[in-house]
């Protein structure tokens, strides 16, 4: 039925199913009209045979990249192909924390750019992502840890990013549930970044998808990439379960499975895939209004608007593609939780899940060209990818559109490992399971 000419023309934005602009007035009108006027938030596209850009992976970074390509660079001939439905990978599995409290200056600049984009995201996307700058509070428990955190806070302040020391008395007021005088790990103080906080993670995927779709981006679900086509040294498209899709540029944004996709073009990556778990307790009245991290073990927690405490810890510690997680780490994280907030022992854990993450060999992400012309990589996010979605999307879109790395992400190139310019935030050396 459809001729190639019909297929190769991107649909005009007015042809798209679109929910229109969301507003308070619209909410009132729909409320009075029985909520029957809403339509799909984004257009479920069928694959066309050719695009200028194909982005593999409909998660946070893939959708954000597509949105910024269309919005900032005017490139709308873009497809996002996703193996399942969008937003069910790591963008829907994380603990929703945003912050920019890093030590290395290039990391501070990159993550703070992301934080600034989060601050204006909802207005820009016309979507309620529940961005809540409730503050992130890092506890320290030893004198040397105080020195380390002070050094980091000073570095942040030198670059104009907020960080403040919090003494024990203020901590007692800020989070009454902390056991400050724990026998083994007494809390000596903390550092607070007030602009940090949480964002509703599903809404990030939906908001970017809706805004990208409205600008003409095709979001193609249930379309698994099974091969990457090459024409000599250049990428020419992808093979999918719904047929071949040709493209001038292919961008992989499949963190957790980057190695799998790169193996299709025999490209080894400095990445191991590990599983990271997250947990939610039953809902209780408000008890915690910051994002809290424990300093004597790996544990971070915030309270969702529904009332559940959302928390997580470290990766399970060995290579795994199993999106579930195992019991020893669940127990270790719970033990850390009870050490810092013993009263949590009364709560039941109602949900637990695992996501598989790209653990890079220096603990920093990769936004880069690859040795194959036209094939780009956005991956290696370890377990810090969620907070970086806006900056990751913007800088990846910049790389696709201009062919050159964005100045804020130039340090994240793939060739940094061979040239010795690794971005080892914590100075741990080449261990993917240590970050």
């Amino acid at each position: 039925m459809n001729s190639d000419a019909t297929y190769s023309r991107p649909p005009e934005s007015h042809e798209r199913e679109s929910a229109g602009r969301y507003s308070l007035l619209r909410l009132l009108r729909e409320g009075l009209g029985g909520q029957r006027g809403w339509s799909r938030a984004w257009h479920k596209a069928e694959p066309r045979p050719r695009y200028r850009v194909v982005i593999v992976g409909g998660g946070g970074h893939g959708l954000a990249t597509a949105y910024y390509l269309a919005r900032e660079f005017g490139i709308r001939d873009v497809a996002v192909v996703e193996r399942g439905p969008i937003g069910l990978g790591n963008v829907g599995r994380n603990t929703t924390i945003i912050r920019s409290n890093y030590f290395r200056p290039e990391n501070i600049r990159f993550y703070d750019y992301s934080l600034r984009l989060w601050q204006s995201l909802e207005r820009e996307l016309n979507f309620n992502a529940m961005v809540s700058q409730r503050g992130t509070l890092n506890l320290f428990h030893t004198e040397s840890q105080r020195d380390l955190f002070t050094r980091r806070a000073n570095q942040m302040r030198l670059l104009g990013v907020d960080a403040e020391a919090v003494g024990r008395d203020s901590l007692r007021e800020l989070v009454p549930l902390i056991d400050l005088d724990n026998g083994r790990y007494p809390v000596l103080g903390g550092f607070l970044q007030r602009r940090g906080g949480t964002v509703r993670h599903d809404a990030v995927a939906w908001g970017y998808a809706r805004a990208a779709s409205a600008l003409g981006v095709d979001i193609i679900e249930h379309c698994e990439v099974t091969g990457i086509r090459r024409d000599g040294a250049r990428v020419s498209g992808v093979e999918t379960t719904r047929g071949a899709i040709m493209a001038d540029t292919v961008c992989l944004a499949v963190a957790g499975h980057s190695s799998q996709l790169a193996a299709m073009v025999d490209l080894p990556l400095p990445i191991e895939t590990h599983v990271l778990q997250a947990f939610v307790t039953e809902s209780v009245k408000p008890v915690l209004d910051v994002v809290l991290t424990y300093g004597a073990g790996h544990f971070y927690v915030s309270q969702s608007d529904r009332g559940g405490l959302v928390y997580g810890g470290a990766t399970d510690g060995y290579n795994s593609y199993g999106q579930r997680g195992t019991l020893p780490m669940a127990e270790e994280v719970a033990a850390a939780a009870l050490t810092v907030m013993p009263s949590l022992a009364r709560l039941k854990v109602v949900r637990q899940w695992g996501g598989v993450v790209d653990m890079s060999m220096d603990g920093s992400p990769i936004i880069s060209r690859t040795p194959i012309d036209g094939l780009l990589l956005n991956g290696g996010w370890c377990y810090g990818g969620f907070k970086a979605i806006p900056a990751g999307g913007m800088t990846t879109a910049h790389l696709i559109a201009t062919g050159n790395p964005h100045p804020l992400a130039a340090h994240l190139s793939l060739d940094r490992f061979a040239s010795g310019r690794t971005v080892d935030e914590r100075g741990l050396g080449p261990f993917p399971y240590a970050h």
Binding site: S259, N319, S320, Y321, M361, F417, A418, Y433
Partner: protein, 86 residues
């Protein structure tokens, strides 16, 4: 919970062990050049399949074991002491 059948100690829980990574990375000869060393230090096969890896029985015999485990199902099909497999 993984259960690892240590050749010296018998079937033990994973919490007695510490993971030491991919056992197939081979240190190149000193003259092999920077590319070979970059690959050895940084690049990983990262297979979604059977994976040969090091586990140190730190809470038991303290021997380094070479284990073949599936990275999707976590099933373990071979465990050997490092000394047995030169």
């Amino acid at each position: 919970m993984l259960r690892i059948n240590c050749p010296w100690c018998g079937l033990r829980d994973e919490i007695e062990f510490r993971y030491r990574g991919d056992a197939q990375a081979q240190r190149p000869a000193a003259s092999a050049g920077p590319n070979a060393f970059t690959a050895y230090v940084y690049e990983r096969s990262n297979r979604r399949d059977w994976h040969i890896e090091w586990w140190l029985h730190v809470g038991g015999c303290r021997r380094l074991l070479k284990i073949e485990r599936h990275t999707l199902t976590h099933e373990i099909r071979a465990v050997a002491d490092n000394a047995e497999q030169s």
